[in-house]
C-alpha cells in the first residue's frame, strides 16, 4: 500500500497534463498540423489516473440501494438487517438528510434519496446509501435492505403518458415541455406541391457506453468545510453548482477535481456519484469511493432519447422543397435531464440543411417510467437526421432524380434561412461536402 500513499499526494495535481509532445520538431506552425496528443503518454503507459484508480488508506466503499419497481410509492424501508452486516459503517436513508434538495441539469426534479411516501419513478432511483469497510460488506448490506412499495401503473410509452387519464409521474404533468416552429404557409404550400410524402420514424434507447463507468472518490476536509470530489463530469462548474445547491452548501464548499475521463458522449453531463459521495464523505469523515457497475450505469444514467418523428414533406415538380411539417415526441423517461433541450433541438434541425420556405413543427418531451434520457452525441439531431435523410431519398426516387442531385438542388447556401429563421451569414459549405463526397466515393447516381 505504500505505492498508494505516495500517490495520494499527487491527486491534487494529477489533473495537470504536461505536454511533452513535439520534442525536437522545429516547425513554427502548430495549428493545422498533426501535433501528437498531449495526454497520450499517460494513457499508453497506464499512468493516467481515472476516478476508480484513486485509493486512500482508510477508504470506505459505497453502494446504492435502488428502486425495486419502476413506478411505486415507497411505503417502508427497513435497514435493520443490513446494519448488522459486519463492516457496515453507515446506511443513509432519506430521513437522515431532511434538508437535501432535488437536483437536475435543467429542471431540478431528481431526488437524492426517495423517502417513504414519495415515489420511485424508474429503476435507477436511489433509496439508500450504504457505506462499508469493504466492497463485499457494502454489497451484502445493500442486498439485505428490505423495501415495501405500493405499485402504480408503469408508463412505458410517451403516447400513453400524454393521455388524459394517465397518472402524473411528476406533479406538473407528464409533458415536460412543448416547442413550436412556424414559418410561411404550410397548408397552402402542400396544396401546391407535386408530391407530398409522409412517414413516421421511430428511434431507440441508446446507451452512450463510455468505456469507463461512473465512479468517484470523495474526502471531506472538515477544517475548511470543503468536500473534495474526484469524479468525471462534462461540465465542471455546473456539476459543482448542482451538488452545492442540493446539499445547501456554497459553491466553494464543493471542490470537484477531474481525474482522466474515460469517455462521456453526453452520459457524464448529469450528476451520478457526486452527491451520494459527498453525503457519505461528510457523514463518515473518511474517504469514500463509489463505482457503478456497467449494469447500474445502464439502468441509472441517461440514455439517448427515443423519438417518434412524423415528417410530412412537399416538393414541387422541379424538385424543390415546398413545405415541411414535423412532430417530435421524445421519451425523456423518469426525469427531465437534458430532455427539455434535446427534443426541440432535433426539431430545429428537422429539415436538414435544405431550403424550405414553409414549415410547421411541434415537439414534446414527455415523462415515462423508463430510464431517463438526456444528452448523447447528436442531441436530438441524430434522431432527426434518420428521418429527414430518408425523406430526401424517398422524394428523390419519386422524382426520379439522383439523390445527390436532389440534395444539391435544395442545399443551404450562404444567406439561406434555417427553420428558426436564422440567416446563415458565413461558413456555409454544405454544397461542397456533397460534391467532395461524390468525388471521393466515385458517386454514379442513384439506385441501380
Amino acid at each position: 500500500m505504500t505505492d498508494q500513499n505516495k500517490r495520494i499526494k499527487d491527486y491534487f495535481c494529477k489533473h495537470t497534463t504536461r505536454c511533452t509532445i513535439e520534442g525536437v520538431k522545429k516547425s513554427k506552425r502548430f495549428v493545422g498540423h498533426d501535433v501528437l496528443k498531449a495526454d497520450a503518454w499517460d494513457k499508453v503507459t497506464g499512468e493516467a489516473v481515472y476516478p476508480d484508480d484513486i485509493f486512500f488508506d482508510d477508504l470506505l466503499y459505497v453502494k446504492i440501494k435502488r428502486a425495486v419497481h419502476p413506478h411505486a410509492i415507497l411505503k417502508d424501508i427497513d435497514i435493520s438487517q443490513a446494519k448488522k452486516v459486519n463492516g457496515v459503517v453507515d446506511i443513509v436513508i432519506a430521513e437522515d438528510i431532511p434538508d437535501v434538495r432535488q437536483f437536475g441539469l435543467i429542471i431540478r426534479d431528481q431526488p437524492v434519496l426517495i423517502a417513504p411516501g414519495e415515489k420511485m419513478r424508474y429503476m435507477g432511483d436511489p433509496l439508500a446509501i450504504v457505506v462499508a469497510e469493504t466492497k463485499e460488506a457494502a454489497k451484502k448490506a445493500r442486498d439485505l435492505i428490505k423495501v415495501k412499495v405500493e405499485e402504480l401503473e408503469v408508463i412505458t410509452d410517451p403516447f400513453r403518458a400524454m393521455e388524459d387519464d394517465a397518472p402524473d409521474i411528476h406533479p406538473d404533468g407528464n409533458i415536460v415541455i412543448t416547442h413550436h416552429l412556424n414559418r410561411g404557409d404550410v397548408d397552402e404550400a402542400f396544396k401546391n406541391s407535386a408530391i407530398v410524402e409522409e412517414n413516421r420514424y421511430q428511434t431507440q434507447f441508446i446507451d452512450q457506453l463510455p468505456m469507463q463507468n461512473e465512479a468517484g472518490v470523495a474526502l471531506y476536509d472538515e477544517r475548511r468545510g470543503v468536500v473534495n470530489i474526484w469524479a468525471a463530469t462534462q461540465w465542471l462548474h455546473d456539476t459543482q453548482a448542482d451538488v452545492a445547491q442540493s446539499l445547501r452548501l456554497s459553491k466553494d464548499q464543493i471542490r470537484i477535481i477531474q481525474p482522466t475521463i474515460g469517455g462521456a458522449f453526453g452520459k457524464k453531463e448529469d450528476v451520478s456519484v457526486h452527491i451520494h459521495l459527498a453525503i457519505a464523505a461528510m457523514r463518515t469523515g473518511r474517504p469514500v469511493k463509489l463505482c457503478f457497475t456497467r449494469e447500474e450505469s445502464m439502468i441509472t444514467q441517461s440514455k439517448r432519447h427515443p423519438i417518434t418523428i412524423i415528417n410530412k414533406t412537399g416538393v414541387d415538380r422541379d424538385g424543390y422543397l415546398t413545405a415541411w411539417e414535423t412532430k417530435f415526441i421524445g421519451d425523456t423517461g423518469a426525469y427531465a435531464s437534458s430532455g427539455p433541450a434535446v427534443v426541440h433541438k432535433g426539431m430545429y434541425h428537422a429539415t436538414g440543411p435544405y431550403n424550405c420556405p414553409n414549415l410547421r413543427g411541434v415537439s414534446h418531451a414527455v415523462y415515462t417510467n423508463n430510464t431517463y434520457a438526456g444528452a448523447m452525441r447528436g442531441f436530438g439531431t441524430a434522431q432527426g437526421a434518420f428521418a429527414y435523410e430518408q425523406q430526401m431519398d424517398i422524394l428523390a426516387e419519386k422524382l426520379s432524380i439522383d439523390p445527390a442531385e436532389f440534395r444539391l438542388k435544395n442545399i443551404y447556401q450562404k444567406d439561406s434561412i434555417t427553420p428558426n429563421g436564422q440567416q446563415l451569414t458565413h461558413s456555409v459549405n454544405a454544397e461542397e461536402t456533397i460534391k467532395r463526397v461524390m468525388e471521393l466515393s466515385d458517386w454514379k447516381g442513384g439506385r441501380k
Binding site: 499508453v44 497506464g46 499512468e47 481515472y50 469507463q212 482522466t260 474515460g262 456497467r294
Partner: protein
Amino acid sequence: MQITFTVNGEERELEVTPYTRLLDLLREDLGLTGVKEGCGKGECGACTVIMNGELTASCLVPAPQADQAEILTVEGLGTRDDLHPIQESFVEAGAVQCGYCIPGMILAGKRLLDENPEPTEKEVRYGLSGNICRCTGYAKIIDAVMLAADKLAVEGSDSSD
C-alpha cells in the same frame, strides 16, 4: 490463501481470497491501475492482461488461479520516457482518445505481434476483437498495430546486424 506469481517480471507473494479477482489483485493490492474494469464480465477487454503468454480477461480470473502464473500488464511494457514500440505507435498513430481501452488494446496488439509479426489488416482486426473501444472507431488503433509491426520489424533487423 497464499499465492506466488510473477508480475511484470517481478515475483510477488500475496495473501488472497477466492472472491478477489485477478483484476482487483492487480489494481488494489499491487497498484497496477493500468488494468481497467469496463464491464466485469469479459465483454469489453479493458481488464486484459497477458497471463502465461495468452490474452486474459483479468476480471474473470479468481485470484487463486493466478498462482504460479506469469503476468504482464501495460506497466510492464515501457515507461513514459522509454516507450515500447507498440506504445509509441499508439501515440504516433493518434490511436488514443479517452484512453480507457488503450492498455488492453496495447496488450492485445502485443500478443498478436508476438505470434504474428507481419499481420494483415484483417488479422489485426481479429486480434483486437475482444477489446471494445467506444471513442476511436478502431481505425487508428488498427493503424497503430500495423505501424508497430513495421517498427518491430526494423528493430528486429537492426539488432540482428
